[in-house]
Amino acid sequence: MSTPEPSPTGAPAAPPSSDAERPPAQLELADVVKRYPGAAEATIDGLSLVVPAGEILVLVGPSGCGKTTAMRMVNRMIEPTSGRILIDGRPNTDRPAADLRREIGYVIQQTGLFPHRTIAENVATVPRLLGWPRARIDARTTELLELVGLDPELAGRYPAQLSGGQRQRVGVARALAVDPPLMLMDEPFGAIDPITRERLQNEFLRLQGTVRRTIVFVTHDIDEAIKMGDRIAVMRPGGHLAQYATPAELLLSPADEFVEQFVGADRALKRLALARVRDLALEPVVRVRYGDPVGWVREQLQASDGPVVPYPLVVDADGRPLAWLDEDDLRGERVADGVGSVVATVERDDVLRDAFSDVLAHRVQYAAVVDGAGAVIGVLSSDAVARELAPGPAPARPLDAPAGPGAAA
């Protein structure tokens, strides 16, 4: 589970527009097979999985693994050869396909925005199909544009007048229009430059924290899968499900060689993308001010019990980090103004991967962890990160004689 960031300044929780608010749906695929006539191999071969309501399922795999086919069978853009697809326990074949699709959000890579309709008209597509009254459509459109971070001024523009990132946001807003219990997203950020993609991913996760839809998300990018997914279904060519697991499980224990290869040799590092600084135990640090007596600083370093960061940290009056001091800086009577080396500063909510990268980029391999106000609350060390990556609980005393499994009991 990705944890939604607590962001009081972020998008305001969408005020439930009366009857629009609907609970997310559970999705179940039961032994779904798709075989095209004349094809030697099935495109989807007996796919079964359950996506709990409100979670993001990522279908990931190399090209030709059937991930898009699997997604398109949910809203019957492709009809399965056999098997059942249940939405909240209800087969998706129990009503006309067009009716079903109006209940399922649909986002595709090329956005598929209607070039001949304005942004507002695009967003209003499904509400109009469902015959919502004009006033309700207008209110919902404005609400949605704000929700996906678009200036309502853009409502009257045409898609060609927007940037790629803006168009993709409109695509998401359009898919969310009737608050569908289920959403399908086919490589929604695939055609976007890396910087914008990263931002859209983050925004989307934050949005998902607010709207909590059940989402089927297709990508070929394992990093995106790990970032976006509550659960990941790794597909193998031939339409087989290679592994269905949470991102952490997938990285920690790939089911077989295929998954291991697909996940990549750097899977230990990838796990860093799943954790945040606050998930690790922070280390205590000796805080000093410029002008403190050097003798007192040395005393503090020795006096603290337990492991402590070997460098004193200079802070300002508000507790904000200024510099690390080393032996060379602790000369003379008092700590001289402006001495010391640069401090890497990370926040509690930072993704561990980014924080670790920051630590590695500095001479002192410790980062000051600060709270919202910028005051130091502890220190993140590269050792702590390494411990986080090692599988299983770390042995307390690595050099102890091995104890038999029953010895402790």
Binding site: M77, A98, Q110, A160, L184
Partner: protein, 243 residues
């Protein structure tokens, strides 16, 4: 039809051939371009012009109705495209005069004969543009439309046809211009039009200039009218594209 064929064209029927030279008689006698005469006799061309407009507009309207229907049909059933292009291509190739002759025993002289020929010439142009236009609709847009729950009729009328409009309008413009030109031959089928005055006195430069000029003017006006209608119907094609 029995009996001898009526003559194909009776030159200048219904058109006042009398040059009625008042002022500038020498210019008129020399078959020259005589501004005075032109100004005095412009009203003579009103009826042929109205007739020419009618011939053209009716041909375009009927041609569009047929081609558009065929285009929609062929868009669904792709195998129809080749035979339709072949048949309309053959119609397009028959010289219009020959077609008038061929039709005379069946439909006789008059408006109907002219229209059949004129409509035949529009079919290939409009049909091909309708099909090209529908084919040119981006597949992701159609996919998204279906995926959001538009049924096939809604996809066609709300997405595919609007997006094919610029291409369809381009076909209509070519067809309109071509038809204005061909309609000046309609007089051979006894259907009137601006061909009437031209053939009534083909040596008189003033006459040919006015009648021919009106043809050109009509072609331009129709072209601009269709272009204007297209611009009105497809506002999204006019907006500047943002970076």
């Amino acid at each position: 039809m029995s009996g001898p064929l009526p003559p194909l064209a009776q030159a200048g029927e219904g058109f006042v051939r009398d040059r009625d030279a008042g002022s500038g008689a020498s210019c008129v006698a020399d078959d020259g371009v005589c501004p005075g005469w032109i100004v005095d006799h412009l009203d003579r061309y009103a009826d042929p012009l109205a007739r020419h407009v009618l011939l053209t507009v009716v041909a375009i309207a009927i041609g569009f109705a047929i081609s558009f229907s065929l285009g929609l049909l062929a868009h669904r059933r792709r195998w129809l495209v080749a035979p339709i292009v072949q048949v309309t291509g053959i119609l397009y190739t028959i010289p219009s005069l020959a077609l008038f002759f061929l039709l005379l025993p069946i439909t006789g002289r008059g408006f109907l004969t002219a229209e059949i020929a004129l409509v035949s010439y529009t079919l290939l142009i409009i049909f091909r543009n309708v099909v090209t236009g529908l084919d040119g609709v981006p597949p992701d847009v159609v996919d998204a439309a279906r995926g959001m729950g538009l049924d096939e009729r809604q996809v066609l009328w709300q997405v595919q046809i609007p997006l094919a409009l610029p291409e369809i309008a381009a076909g209509l413009r070519i067809a309109a211009t071509t038809t204005v030109g061909l309609a000046s031959l309609a007089f051979f089928a006894g259907a009137g039009g601006l061909g009437d005055p031209i053939y009534a006195d083909p040596n008189f430069k003033s006459n040919v200039l006015v009648a021919g000029g009106l043809c050109v003017l009509l072609a331009i006006v129709l072209d601009l009218a269709i272009l204007g209608a297209q611009r009105l119907l497809t506002p999204w094609t006019r907006r500047a594209v943002a970076g």
